[in-house]
Symmetry: C2
Subunit: 135 residues, 2 copies
Amino acid sequence: MYIIIIGSGRLGRMLSEELTDAGHNVSVVDRDSKRLEALGTGFNGLSVKGIEYDNAVLKEAGIKHADYVLSVTSDDNLNITVSLAAKEIFKVPRVIARVNEPQKKSVYELLGIEMINPTELISYIIKGKVEGSQR
Amino acid sequence: MYIIIIGSGRLGRMLSEELTDAGHNVSVVDRDSKRLEALGTGFNGLSVKGIEYDNAVLKEAGIKHADYVLSVTSDDNLNITVSLAAKEIFKVPRVIARVNEPQKKSVYELLGIEMINPTELISYIIKGKVEGSQR
């Protein structure tokens, strides 16, 4: 599959590595060249420096033939904007966005954006560990 | 159970809510009073303002009778220091620490600190979604 990852922070970088290793074609978009450089020499996909919600930048990243857009920056507004562009303008079949502030969840829901909420998931996992140890 | 949460950021706050709701006694430690205030009125546990690795602060949070310490700040060195104090000085039965920088994982491992690595877990979950959609 052709997968565009928005955001070359910790999560974006790990995802780019995992998905490349799994044989997918990956491009990573970030406005910060230092974060892109941190992708490391092991990354053999495309890295695109530019404003993440800019249509020209998204086109350069190959959004017209993308199967997936994963918007995983630490900025909810940015994730929402890119996800809507991917869905509404470029008709990308699958889009997933990261929720940072749990209170923003309702905005993603209202806009019909599929989301992943790390804080909620990790909290759930830790709670499971704590309660599991009690039995 | 008596559970001490170190760090009143997003994850610490969500955990404090979830674990309080589940009937546990929770105290939360953070040096930043604004982050502690963000616990909100729903939180009926103990909140302690102070340097998180300070033994006096940890005692005030009730570490001597804690069943669990969850160190979930965004600072790996802090999580490591508190976890070691909890384990070695105060003999807390169970300690879990959050890993922020995936490269720091080996340090936690070397020191025998049980860890939760959000970046790795969330990356794994997203990869599962992406690959699941392919079938």
